[in-house]
């Protein structure tokens, strides 16, 4: 996996390079948008980490230009400004994710891993989580390699929770998810489905956590 880091601050760039190299990536550094465009024209990368505050053309301009050229490269934006407007405009011009400086290296490499997986797995219809696999194409599930029988509603709830993980999903959202089959589904019914799911998942390492007053969450994979 080859990553292009576009960052003009030497201290940060060298830190990221070392860290990602230790995580097993090949890392090139470009110190300006122009240098980055040169590298991207000539070589193939799996992902770019782009700092917004670059000299001359900034990171947002670089991303906009790449997207205008229909370059689908996954891009993670680094912002030191910490203002929401920046991160939102970053995502608006076509970045896939963002992190605010200062960041922790493990989190950076986790996000990069997720982005690369997502980009490679657009064709892959499976959701993986701690030994649980949901094949959304064939609608089959396995837990620790063994087949897992799920009803339509249990499947829908589990899928919604896995896709949102590690974010919390409200019961209301789950009601809306099931509304296609059940017009009058109640919050109590959701609780029943979740408790059945918990029983079925008890063998594995998947825990559906109750968040008091809102809904449920599946923790990030270990």
């Amino acid at each position: 996996m080859r990553i292009l880091v576009v960052e003009d601050d030497n201290l940060v760039a060298s830190g990221i390079k070392q860290g990602l190299s230790q995580a097993g990536y090949t890392v090139d550094v470009a110190d300006s948008a122009e240098a980055a465009e040169d590298s991207l024209r000539n070589e193939a990368f799996d992902l770019a980490v782009v700092d917004i505050g670059l000299p001359r053309a900034d990171g947002l301009t670089l991303i906009r230009r790449l997207r205008e050229q229909d370059n689908p490269l996954p891009i993670l934006v680094l912002t030191a400004r910490g203002s929401m407007e920046d991160t939102i405009s970053g995502l608006d011009v076509g970045a896939d994710d963002y992190m605010t400086k200062p960041f922790r290296l493990p989190e950076l490499s986790a996000r990069i891993r997720a982005l690369i997986r997502r980009s490679h797995a657009i064709a892959d219809t499976c959701l993986h989580h701690n030994g649980l696999t949901l094949d959304t194409n064939s609608r089959t599930a396995t837990l620790g390699g063994a087949p897992l029988e799920l009803t339509k509603r249990e499947w829908a709830i589990l899928e919604a929770l896995l896709m949102a993980s590690p974010n919390v999903v409200s019961k209301d959202r789950l009601v809306q998810t099931l509304a296609g089959w059940d017009k009058d589904i109640t919050l109590n019914a959701i609780e029943v489905y979740v408790s059945r799911l918990r029983a079925k998942l008890a063998e594995g390492y998947i825990e559906i956590r109750t968040v008091r007053g809102i809904g449920y969450r599946i923790d990030a994979p270990a």
């Binding site: 601050d9 201290l11 030191a80 203002s83 929401m84 200062p102 209301d172 109640t186 019914a189 007053g213």
Partner: protein, 455 residues
């Protein structure tokens, strides 16, 4: 107004009264001429020939009484009432009028000169002034009522006209008065009276300048943030790399101190910038929009759940719909600071509950914990910048509640610190007094409301 009214009535009255008086005086003169016509032409006959009826008619002009006397040039009474006073008529005049009292009543008197076979005579006729007074009163009434009506009508026309004319001005005044002190949006000029537009235009120019200044300050903050955070990111990465390479294996205590310090600097930089941004925010950068407090609270769940789990704190939510006009990022920061405080100061196995909803007409966003709480006499101080309560755990920088208060003020909201019901701890609430009911159907209906529990 009253003075103009009085002067106007006075002059009108004078004019009308003079005319009326002239008419009455003429009638008095006619009486004198009437008497003159009864004076005999021969010296040898009695002077006056008045039948009883004629004299009665002459003397009675109900409701007034008429008195008369005829005197010769020496003042000798020839006929009539002897007690009527005499008065010398100036040589060049035919008649002289006087106001005087006679037999205890006010009268108008005419002294009229005639020539006769009996020599120069003066006919004096006096009449009480009951009719004159009646006429004066009639004139006065006829004068005052229409004038009063006109004045009243004018007053009403001016009052309502001015009020109507000033209403757009009042709207402008209200618009400015209800603004937050940092709201520097331009005043919409279109709907204002033409007379004040130049003034409003100058005011808008001033707002423009202030917005520019504020934008420059925002840029400075953005740059400062960049300059501070980038080396911090470098420092953090280097520490992590050194740790990964096992450089701190001999002294893990030192590593944790360095990490703690880095964390605190990062937190402080974040808080400083948030505070500075909130403090210098103006409408130039922050146009308010409807923000759902319910959505805000729900999103906080995903952000803070891991920290709560890490400290074994039961983080829960009681979410009811409530919408306010505000800045999404600022309200998010305010809530984040309140929850951060609660998680920081609540001991392990504590309970923290985040609530959104309406209290009467006010929208509420509150966080309750069952930690140690804040004594009532310290509740004002905790809002001061950099104030940290003695004995509070490390990691905080003393800006959290200052930020919350700043953001609340920008939204016209208040920050309430209270004791939670039936437990120790602290309940801190943002109260948005002017919030309307949720404008649109909120997807986050009261999740645990009884109505929803029933199938």
């Amino acid at each position: 107004m009253a003075a103009v009214f009085a002067v106007s009535v006075f002059f009108d009255y004078r004019l009308a009264k003079e005319t009326a008086d002239a008419a009455f005086d003429q009638s008095l003169t006619d009486d004198a001429l009437d008497i003159a016509s009864h004076i005999r032409n021969s010296e040898n006959l009695p002077l006056l020939e008045l039948s009883a009826e004629v004299e009665t008619m002459l003397r009675n002009d109900a409701p007034d009484k008429v008195y008369f006397a005829v005197r010769d040039s020496a003042g000798q009474l020839l006929a009539g009432d002897a007690d009527l006073p005499d008065f010398p008529v100036a040589a060049h005049k035919q008649a002289e009028f006087k106001d005087s009292a006679f037999r205890g009543e006010p009268t108008r008197v005419v002294f009229y000169k005639i020539r006769s076979p009996h020599g120069d005579l003066t006919i004096t006729v006096a009449e009480t002034i009951v009719k004159r007074n009646g006429a004066s009163r009639t004139i006065l009434t006829a004068m005052i009522l229409p004038t009063l009506a006109v004045i009243l009508a004018t007053f009403m026309a001016v009052y309502f006209g001015v009020r109507k004319g000033l209403r757009p001005l009042e709207n402008v005044e209200k618009e400015i008065a209800t603004r937050s002190p940092r709201d520097l949006r331009e005043i919409a000029i279109d709907a204002t009276p033409r007379e004040i537009r130049p003034m409003l235009a100058r005011l808008n120019e001033l707002f423009d300048l202030l917005r520019l200044a504020s934008a420059a300050q925002q840029r400075f903050l953005t740059d400062a943030a960049h300059q501070l955070r980038t080396p911090l990111a470098g420092l953090q990465t280097q520490i992590e790399l050194a740790t990964a390479e096992g450089r701190f294996q001999s002294d893990p205590e030192r590593l944790s101190r360095i990490e703690d310090a880095t964390e605190r600097i990062s937190h402080l930089v974040d808080q400083l910038l948030t505070y500075a941004r909130a403090e210098s925010s103006t409408a130039a950068t922050q146009i308010f929009e409807p923000v759902s407090l319910a959505v805000l609270a729900e999103k906080a769940a995903s952000i803070f759940l891991d920290r709560a789990l890490g400290k074994n704190i039961d983080l829960g939510f009681e979410i009811a719909p409530a919408t306010v006009d505000g800045s999404p990022w600022m309200l998010r920061e305010a809530l984040a600071n309140i929850i951060d405080n609660a998680l920081r100061y609540t001991p392990a196995h504590g309970v923290v509950t985040v609530r959104s909803g309406m209290r009467g007409a006010a929208a509420i966003l509150e966080v309750e914990d069952n930690g140690a709480g804040i004594p009532a006499d310290e509740r004002e101080r905790v809002f001061e910048r950099f104030y940290r309560r003695p004995g509070s755990p490390s990691g905080g920088c003393g800006l959290g509640l200052a930020i919350v208060r700043e953001i609340a003020a920008l939204h016209g909201a208040s920050v309430e610190l209270a004791d939670p019901q039936g437990t120790t701890g602290l309940r801190i609430a943002l109260v948005f007094p002017r919030a309307g009911a949720p404008a649109h159907t909120d997807p986050h209906r009261g999740i645990d409301s009884p109505a929803m529990e029933k199938p």
